[in-house]
């Protein structure tokens, strides 16, 4: 169960890094960004049909989400059954904080993900009344820029990024530990550093486009 968690988690880390790479293309301008988005759909052609790769990718990711969440809830319920009487006093230690961020943070991330997909992938919701739907048209770039010109959307996404960062910080190192690569004090220190590094890189990497858009550096 933990292995499932670690493996699916690792997939997300790879995905998130790739996703971040794509997002950063915002800085390369509309053309680069849009063609990247388009490229994702033509990847693997002609062996795969249009969007074929993306669909396989999506299915894998959806299954991973299910697997990840399933193992999380499994461990959660197992933990609950293993201690049905709770402590009257709980030490306010780092441990409790880590557990809570993983659990509630994970739940929050699922909620965020739902919105995020509706926002940019399925429904392509336009939240910026100052920009007409026509302007956005079929350009993901325009949608992104229009969205993050709205301050509360940016703040909302930034909050989500904090959750992502915290989740990754523990998650990355935890996956390394579960996969058995942190078996010495040195390796443990390195993998904890790795966790921190990935968390920082990802949250900063993702935060840059919305921030630049909000403050008008990218239009």
């Amino acid at each position: 169960m933990k292995l499932l968690m670690a493996l699916t988690g690792s997939l997300f880390v790879l995905f998130v890094l790739m996703h971040m790479y794509g997002n950063l293309k915002v800085f390369a301008g509309q053309e680069a960004f849009d063609s990247y988005a388009h490229h994702l759909r033509t990847l693997g052609e002609p062996i795969l049909p249009y969007s074929g790769f993306l669909w396989i990718f999506r299915i894998v990711l959806v299954l991973s989400v299910i697997g990840h969440a399933y193992s999380a809830f499994y461990l959660w319920s197992k933990a609950h059954n293993a201690r049905s009487t709770r402590y009257a006093v709980r030490a306010a230690g780092a441990a409790a904080w880590r557990t809570q961020t993983m659990r509630w943070g994970g739940v929050a991330l699922i909620a965020f993900l739902t919105w995020h997909l509706m926002h940019f992938t399925t429904n392509k919701i336009n939240v910026n009344s100052a920009v007409s739907d026509a302007t956005i048209g079929d350009s993901p770039y325009q949608l992104v820029v229009a969205s993050f010109q709205v301050w509360w959307i940016t703040v909302f996404y930034l909050a989500a990024l904090v959750a992502v960062g915290l989740h990754l910080q523990h998650g990355v190192w935890s996956a390394v530990q579960t996969l058995g690569w942190a078996g010495t004090p040195g390796a443990r220190r390195i993998s904890q550093l790795l966790g921190n590094a990935v968390a920082l890189v990802v949250s900063i990497g993702f935060a840059l486009p919305p921030l630049f858009i909000m403050f008008g550096f990218v239009k």
Binding site: A79, R86, V89, S174
Partner: protein, 247 residues
């Protein structure tokens, strides 16, 4: 020192328990935590009240019999066993809450006394090297590199007190198992049974109803013998090997 105590009192395994408040007026900072409870018990007996039952035996930090959760921390605020905790770690007029080690596989027997026999059953499942008396080769037949011998010792220092389980938000006993598989796995004598040992011990662990590890690390923080957290990764690595071998 004056100390206020809130102690978990529970008449028996199936009884409902509750925290009861007591007050002690003459606590010396040189007392051990358990001696402070001895003093409380003497006062309770004098008043005709039943004393607080708690486990302790060697009172020098090695047998692993004692183990109280003090203000939410197994063995209290220091990295040591409850019996080696002294009242100088507390302040005058402190309120101290004392609870049993909590985990469903460790049912409360009375007050602060719990049943930790699942840990014995985990060892029985595979935490040993199968060598019958008299079957041993000459001790110097197999040299053990000092590095491995030292790590084996560090992890063999586990006293089986159960603090790791009590501290773990998931009530997992992974540090306990990790310590044992690392101890035996570091030694050449432990190799033949290495892959099978871990699977058997983990199966027993799950059958006893412990939770699963989510790499929180509270266990290692609470361990009075400072068993390092990396033994759990060692365990995971060995488990991977076992799974690959189809055990």
């Amino acid at each position: 020192m004056k100390i206020n105590l809130k102690i978990w009192r529970q008449a028996g395994p199936n009884a409902t328990g509750k925290l009861v408040t007591y007050r002690l007026d003459d606590v010396s900072p040189d007392m051990s935590f358990l001696e402070m409870l001895d003093v409380l018990n003497e006062q309770l007996i004098a008043k005709g009240e039943e004393p607080v039952e708690f486990d302790s035996d060697c009172r020098e930090g090695i047998c692993g019999m004692c183990g109280l959760v003090i203000n939410g921390e197994p063995h209290g605020p220091r990295v040591t066993t409850t019996c080696q905790l002294h009242m100088r770690s507390f302040k005058d007029c402190d309120t101290i809450t004392i609870e049993p080690l909590r985990a469903d596989p460790f049912p409360v027997l009375r007050d602060l006394v719990v049943d930790r026999s699942p840990l014995d059953r985990i060892i029985a499942a595979g935490g040993f090297i199968s060598v019958s008396t008299g079957a041993a080769p000459e001790a110097h037949a197999t040299p053990v590199p000092k590095k491995n011998a030292d790590r084996a010792f560090d992890t063999a220092a586990c006293i089986g007190c159960g603090a790791c389980v009590a501290a773990c938000p998931n009530a997992a006993a992974m540090l306990f198992i990790g310590a044992k598989v690392t101890h035996l796995g570091e030694l050449p004598q432990g190799q033949p049974e290495r892959a099978a040992r871990i699977v058997k011990m983990l199966n027993q662990h799950d059958a006893e109803g412990f939770g699963g590890c989510t790499n929180v690390g509270a266990c290692a923080d609470a361990c009075p013998k400072s068993i390092p957290f990396d033994v759990i990764s060692q365990l995971n690595k060995d488990l991977r090997t076992s799974l690959v071998r189809g055990l």
